[in-house]
Symmetry: C2
Subunit: 236 residues, 2 copies
DNA sequence: CGTCCTATTGATGGGGTTCAAGGCGTGTGG
DNA sequence: CCACACGCCTTGAACCCCATCAATAGGACG
């Protein structure tokens, strides 16, 4: 289960403590690419966990433009604030075929109570998402397009590695260039030009949906990327 | 105490329940405009609460440009994730003279335990900040400059109203146009032009640091602003 | 009364959008 | 099994929003 894999990175969670999480009752639903999983305004009644695939938190503004706020990958919590907020202020949509696990808040609560390290680990996961979104603000607000694309891809690669969905040098990108643009505040046309530029510079290679990053360190230097905001060594 | 004022908006917190929050032991420090309150990389040892003034979460990128991620006002929690994250991934700096209350995590924990509604209310406040930051991504990524400035000002006004720091038609803006630009991913020059444009359109009036919004509804229509992301009616 | 910071304004230039057209791969129905 | 449609990628051209540069003005403060 990808969520468990991810929480183990927190460092304080062993296999035994994770068991209640795996044992929670759930219902799984599969969504097709492009389908809306939760609409803005919907009541938040369940805790949703991504089991596989890609999804996105997004908003559509009056002009019709879409802004992708955050990409959701396997192991991500989609409604961490289910206990507090009554209604969704944004929508979540599937970017690829996506499997989503629905858990009742009560069942999660019981799992948390039965294992002390678990709630700390889930808090950490939620705080990590917050941190990623803060970094996204910086990326969109103050980085030039070329670095912006590069930085975004490195972050995705790092996240996929955390849940065992990528290798050291490659990952599968199931999303379109238009969607990358919607995440980064760029046009699909310009994303294309930036990707080709990164390829021309030898920082990237692409074949269909496969994306290779030869030299992660070089790319990180190129776009001013670091891992501080992942909080990977934050076990207390 | 502004934090209490704000939490009352959550709806489930009465005066009696808020008492432990007001009674927590604390140390208060005052920061001058421009001073850094917490540095990126600093360990998170206390819970910090804004008592008065303005501050900002920000990051400086390699080019030297600053991105303001979120504006902090009186009543805001500056380190809600103090229990989970070990180190700051961004900095917090004072935008005006700012008074900050330092509370020990243990003391907060005790206050939370002594009052059932309190932790829910604090969770709500934290979730509300998350929500505001998500909206900020949309604003910076997909709104044209004129609407961006307008939308930003309306949000600040709404937030100041929540803590009794603004009147229906006016607020005090203690920050510079350059800082507005750093929040919105714009240059100080362009912010100036947008402000003057809003003034010319009769949506705004300015005298020194006083900013008047004649017709909030008209301005909200103008920049596609709504209050969904404030979650003001989210008492369970 | 000079100094420094902020606001203001115009001129110029560039990074990125928009428009448009073509190519490529994949699925689909006749 | 081919023809066509459709979605996505690619590329060039024109344009525009906003950044940058520069210069002035206007406080606030010592």
């Amino acid at each position: 289960m990808p969520l468990t894999t991810r929480l183990r990175r927190y460092g304080r969670l062993d296999a035994a403590q994770a068991t209640p999480l795996e044992r929670m009752p759930f219902v799984e639903k599969t969504y097709a690419r492009g389908e809306t999983i939760i609409r803005r305004g919907d009541p938040v009644e369940n805790v949703l966990v991504m089991t596989s695939g890609w999804a996105a938190r997004s908003r559509v503004v009056r002009s019709g433009n879409r802004q992708i706020i955050h990409i959701l990958l396997a192991g991500d919590l989609m409604t961490a604030d289910a206990f507090v907020l009554k209604r969704m202020d944004h929508q979540i949509e599937a970017l690829s075929t996506a499997v989503v696990r629905f858990v009742k808040p009560g069942d999660l609560r019981r799992a948390l109570e039965s294992s002390p390290g678990l709630s700390a680990a889930l808090w950490w996961a939620a705080a990590q998402e917050d941190s990623l979104i803060r970094e996204h603000v910086v990326r969109v607000g103050r980085r030039p397009a070329l670095e912006r694309v590069s930085h975004f891809l490195l972050e995705l690669h790092r996240r996929l590695l955390m849940v065992g969905q990528a290798t050291e040098g490659a990952m599968i990108l199931p999303i379109t260039q238009e969607e990358i643009g919607d995440a980064l505040g760029l046009s699909n046309v310009h994303v294309n030009k930036m990707l080709r530029d990164l390829e021309r510079r030898g920082l990237l290679r692409r074949r269909k949906t496969v994306l290779q990053i030869e030299d992660r360190a070089a790319m990180a230097r190129f776009c001013d990327f670091d891992e501080v905001h992942f909080h990977l060594d934050d076990a207390a």
